[in-house]
Symmetry: D2
Subunit: 353 residues, 4 copies
C-alpha cells in the first residue's frame, strides 16, 4: 500500500527473513520519508517477503534477493544489516567501501575494543579500523555522534534496557559501582526465528528459566557503556531469563545507594536526565513498567524505587526487544543520521492488549 | 505526539475505557486526517486516558469526561460509540438529534428487525425509527449505503469473519443453505475488559472451551446478512469458542456444495468476489489463514477448500477481533462516510510476532 | 522413588524420548502394579531419561537403550511402542513374534484395511496378517476384545475425542450420517517434540490456524469406527486446528438430528451410553467441557446440545491429548489386557490450574 | 474414585475454593494414608466441590460446608487451613483448642515476632501465645520441630524458593550478608482465584511486571529464616514479578562471595547440604532450573554459579508455587507430623509439558 519513492530516502534491509528484519519492514513501510528499495535473504532469494511473513501480504510486494553489495549500492543509500554477527562484519565493510550509510543491528561493531570482541565472540575482528569509526547507536547517550556517523552499531536488546536504567544513577554517582546487578527477562522473539528444542512451543510455554548466567555476550556491551559514563571500569552481574511471551524485555536493576536518597529525589533525577527524550517515559513514583505497555512501540518505560530498608536503588525498565531493543532504535538512528525528525515513523501507539 | 487539528475531522470516542475504545484511539491518533477531540468514560471522568491505558502515555494527553451529547456536539463532528448495548441506543439517538455522524460499535442498530433485537437482547428497542436509518457497516457488502449513512451499525466481531467467509458462497449459490455450520474461535479481548472468573488468567490459560452454543447473540446478525445475500431466510449453526490468546478470531465454515466444484474454481470465485477489496486477502489454494498474520491490521484473510470426499466447502477466515472485528472497521466506515481514502489510517502492517 | 518390582508387571517403553513416551513414564512410574524395566531411544541410547526429561530427575534412574527386541523380551512382558508410524510396524511384529504383549501408540495397526493404510499413509503395510489380530484400543467401544488382545492399536488423539462424542448419536441413529462435521482444536504437544518453524514459540503463541483441512490422517480412523457403529460406510468432515496451549483437544461435533429431540433427551441418552464408563464424564445439560478440566487426567468430558433452531446436534468433547488421547489410554488398555482394575494408575485428579 | 477410610488419617481442608485448596485436594485425594472427611467454603457451603473445580468431577463427591470448628473436630484429626491471613488466625486458635493438629497455609503464624506481623500485615496478632508454639514448616530447616508440632505455619511460596536457595550459602558463611538480592518471578496462580483487572487474561498475557518492590510481605519471612541461619539480623532486597504462566516460581539470588570459591566447590557444598533431602534436586554445575520441570511436583530444583568476574554467587531455584510453595509442602509437613514416610502422596512425577 506504500506510495512512490520520489523524495524519499532509499533504504535496504539485508537479512530480512528474521524477526528483526520483519520488524524493520513493518516500521519502514509506514515511514513517511523512507522507501524500501531492496531486501535480501540468502536462503529465500527470489521469494516474495510476504511468503516468509504473511502479515506483509498486500502490504509490500518486495522480493528477496541474494546479498550483493554493489547491487545494493545502486538501489539504496542507507542499509540496515539484520545479519548474524561475524557475517555482518564484512557486509558492513563492503557497504561502507561503497559509500553507503550503514546501521548494523548485529553485535559486530558494538564493542570498541577488538580484544574484547574476540574474547566474548570467539572470533578475531577483521575490521578494527572500521570499528574505530562505528558509533554505538543509543541516542540517549550518543545523539551527537550518531548524527554524524556513517556506521551505527545498533545496541543489543538487553543492553538498551539495562543502560537506560543505569545511566542516570551512574552519571549522578548515586550507586556503588561494584554493587550492580541486572536481572533481565525476555520474550522469545529475542532468540530469533530458527527453530530449536529450547524454543519449541511446549518447552517454553508454562516454563521459565535463567540462561547463560555470567556468560551472556551482552554483558561486556553493558559494561562498556556504563564504564564510559562512570569514567572508570565497571564490572556487573547480568542474568538473562526466557519468559513465555513473544516480545518484551523487563530489566530489574539493583545497586547500593552511595548516599542518602529517597524515591522522590531519585525520580526527579531520572526525570531531569530524560526530560528531552522522546522515547523514554519515566513513570511517577510508585508506578512500575510492564512490557505490555511498550509492545510494538519504541518507548522505554522506567520505574524507580529507593529502598531505605536495604539502602538499595531498584530500577525497572521495559522495552519491546524488537522495537527499542532492535529495529525501532535502528530507525531512530537512521532518523538522526539523515536529519529527519527523530520520532518520524515511530509515533504510532503500541498495541495493547 | 499528534500534531494540530487544522483541516482534520474532529472525532470523539464515547466509552473509551474498554478494549475497543483503546483500539480506536490507537488507530485514530495515527490517522492523518483525523483529530480526536473528546473521549468519555463514566467511571473514569477526569482521568487522563493514559492512566487507564499506559501504552498511550506520551502519545496523547486526552482526558476522559462524562458523556454529555451537547458538549460532544460542540467538539466533534463524528462520534464513535464504544458503549455496551442498550446504553448505546439512547446515546446514538441523542447524537443524531444533534446532527452528528455516528459509528456505533455496539449491537444496538445491527438487527434491522426490532422484534429480533428484542428476542435476542431481551430489551425492547427504543428507537425503531432511527433503526430504519442505520446501515450495517460491512463495507464489502454495503459500501454504497455506508458512504451516505449518518448512523453506522458497526458489525460484531464474529459476524465480520463469518459473513466475509460465506458471502461469495451464498452470492454464487454454491452451497446448500440448510447445511451451514460456523465454528469460530476467539481471543479473550473479545470478552471485554471487565474482570470475571471466566477470564481470570489461570482459568483461561491452558484452557479451551465452547460457550453459548446455539444461543450467542451474534447468530441473528450473521443470519440477517446471509439471508439478505441469499434472498431467503437462512438459519445456521454458530458456535463460539474461547482461546488462550489476546486477539484474533478464526472462523471455520462448512457447507454442502450445491454442485460439482473444486478448490481451484472455488478460489477463483473468491478472488473475483473480493478483487477490489483493500482489506480482504484471499490466500492461494492450499494455504489457510492464521490469526497471527492479521494481528493489529484491518485485514481479513481467507482460505478455501472444496472437499471432494464429503462434498463440502470449507472456508477459513481470520481477523483481528479488535481491528477488522471492531475498531479498524469502524475507522474504515468513517473513511467511507467522510469520502476519505478507504484505507487511510489503516495501511500499517500488522504486528508479527 | 519407585519401590521394587516383585509381583509387578514388567513393562518397556520403546521410543521414550517424545512427549507420549515421557507421559507413559509419568503414569507408569506411579502405577502400583507395574515396573518399567526398559526404555529405548535410538538417538539417546546410553543417556539417563532424566537428561531428556529433567522433570523425571530423582523420580527414575532409567537409562535409554537402543531398541533390540530380544533384549526387551528378556526384561519385559508388555511393551508400549511410542514410535513414529512405519517404524512401529516392524517393531510390533518382532515383539509379537517373541510373544510379548504390545500396545502400539502409532497409527500402524489402527486401520483394519491395509489398502486404506496405504492410501493415507503412503506406505504399503508390511504385516497385514498381524493387522488382522490387532484390536483398536478404545475401551468404551471394544473393551471385551481388548481384554483378550495381544496387540493393541492405541487410538489417535483426535479420533478418541471425536469417536466418543459421536458414538451415542450413531448407535442410537440420532443424526443423519451424511451431515457430520468434526471441528477439533489441539494443543501443540500433539505435534510432537521435534522442533520446526511451525511450532517455534513466537509462531504459535498468539496464533491460531486450521491445518491439513480434508486431508488429516486421523480422518479414516474416525470414519472406520463410526462406520462400524453405524453398520454402513460413513464419510465425514474433520478439521484440526492448532491452539497456543500445551495440552488438550476440544472437538466440536455437528450433525443434523434425524428426528425430534431436545437437549434433555440427548443428555439422557449419553448418560445411559456411558453410565459404566470410568473415564467419560457426561456434563449436565447446559454445561460444556473445557480442556483445562481434563489436563493430566484420563477423562473425556462431554457436553451436548440439541439446537431446535437448526435441527442440529452439537456435541463437545474434551480430552488431554497426551493422556486419554495417547498414554493414559494406553495404560487403560494395558490394565484391561492384564486383568487389572481398569482405573489402576489413572485415578489421580488432573492438574488445575 | 478414592476408597474407604479405615486406618487412614482423617483430614479437613478449610477454605477449599481457592487454588491452594484445590491443590490440597488433588494431592490428598491420591494420598494412600489419608482420607479427606470435610471441606469448607463460606461462599459455597452446600455445593459439591466439583462444581467449583470441575477437574474433580467423579474424583470426589465432597460437598463444601460452612466452617464450624466443633463440627470439623468430630470429622477430622488434622486440618489444613487455606484461608486468607487474619481469618486464619482465629480458625487455627479454635481448632487447636479442640485439640486438632493444624497446618496453616496462611501467613498468620509464620513471623515469630508479633510486632513484625503487625508492621507488615497491619493487623495486631490476636494469639501471640499460640504463635509461640507454631513451627515454621520448612522441613529442610526445621524437620525435627515439625515432627513434634501441633501447629505448622506453612511457608509462603516466594520464601520457600528464596530460603532454599540461600540456606547453604548462609550456613557456610559464603556470602556477604549485606549483599543479598532475591529476584523472583511467579506464575499467576500465586495471586489467588479472585478476579481482578491486574489478573484479567489480556492484561497478563504478553505482559511482565515487577510489583510491590521493597514492600512485599514475604520479605520479613525470608529475612527471619535467613537471620536465624546467619545468627544475626539480615536485611535483603526482594522483588517479585508476575509472569504470564499458571504455575511456578523462579528465584534468581545474588550475593557477594565472602571468599574465593568456584562453581564446583559451591555445587559440592549445596549437594552436601541437601544430600538427604527427598525434594531438593541440586543440578550439576552448568545446569539451571526451569519451572516447567517442577510443575505439579514437590521438588525444588537448584542451580548454582560462582561468577569469578564479579565475585558474586548466583543461585537459581525453581518450585511449583502451589506444590512445594504451598499445598505439597503442607502435605510434606503433615507426613512429618504424623510419622508417615515424608514423601508419601508426593512421589508422582510432575507434568511435562
Amino acid at each position: 500500500m506504500k506510495g512512490k519513492n520520489e523524495g524519499q530516502l532509499k533504504t535496504a534491509v539485508v537479512g530480512s527473513s528474521g524477526y528483526t528484519g520483519g520488524e524493520l519492514l513493518r516500521i519502514l513501510l509506514n515511514h513517511p520519508r523512507v522507501a524500501v528499495t531492496a531486501i535480501t535473504s540468502e536462503k529465500s532469494a527470489g521469494r516474495p517477503i510476504a511468503s516468509l511473513f504473511p502479515h506483509l501480504l498486500n502490504v509490500t510486494d518486495l522480493v528477496c534477493e541474494a546479498f550483493d553489495p554493489s547491487a545494493i549500492a545502486k538501489k539504496a543509500d542507507l542499509v540496515f544489516l539484520a545479519l548474524p554477527h561475524v557475517t555482518a562484519q564484512g557486509a558492513a565493510y563492503e557497504l561502507r567501501k561503497l559509500g553507503m550509510k550503514v546501521v548494523d543491528l548485529s553485535a559486530d561493531y558494538r564493542l570498541s575494543d577488538p580484544a574484547l570482541y574476540e574474547k566474548w565472540y570467539e572470533h578475531r575482528h577483521q575490521y578494527p579500523e572500521l570499528l574505530n569509526h562505528a558509533v554505538y547507536g543509543l541516542p540517549e547517550l550518543h545523539r551527537q555522534e550518531i548524527r554524524k556517523a556513517a556506521l551505527i552499531a545498533n545496541p543489543g536488546c538487553y543492553p538498551t534496557g539495562a543502560i537506560l536504567g543505569l545511566a542516570p544513577l551512574i552519571k549522578n554517582r548515586m550507586i556503588d559501582l561494584a554493587s550492580i546487578v541486572v536481572d533481565s527477562k525476555s520474550g522469545v522473539s529475542g532468540a530469533g526465528r530458527s527453530p530449536a528444542l529450547a524454543h519449541h512451543f511446549p518447552e517454553v510455554n508454562e516454563g521459565l528459566m535463567a540462561y547463560k548466567i555470567g556468560t551472556h555476550r551482552h554483558t561486556p556491551e553493558i559494561e562498556q557503556e556504563i564504564s564510559l559514563l562512570a569514567g572508570e571500569k565497571v564490572t556487573l552481574s547480568f542474568t538473562p531469563h526466557l519468559v513465555p511471551m513473544n516480545r518484551g524485555i523487563l530489566s530489574t536493576i539493583y545497586g547500593l545507594l552511595a548516599g542518602k536518597t529517597d524515591t522522590g529525589r531519585m525520580h526527579a533525577l531520572f526525570e531531569e536526565f530524560y526530560k528531552n527524550e522522546p522515547f523514554v517515559r519515566v513513570l511517577p513514583p510508585g508506578e512500575f513498567p510492564n512490557v505490555r505497555n511498550v509492545r510494538g512501540s519504541n518507548f522505554c518505560d522506567i520505574g524507580v524505587y529507593a529502598d531505605h530498608r536495604t539502602g538499595r536503588a531498584v530500577v525497572v525498565t521495559a522495552i519491546d526487544n524488537l522495537v527499542k531493543g532492535a529495529s525501532g532504535q535502528a530507525v531512530q538512528n537512521m532518523n538522526l543520521m539523515m536529519g529527519f525528525d527523530e520520532t518520524e515513523g515511530l509515533k504510532a501507539a503500541g498495541m495493547f492488549p
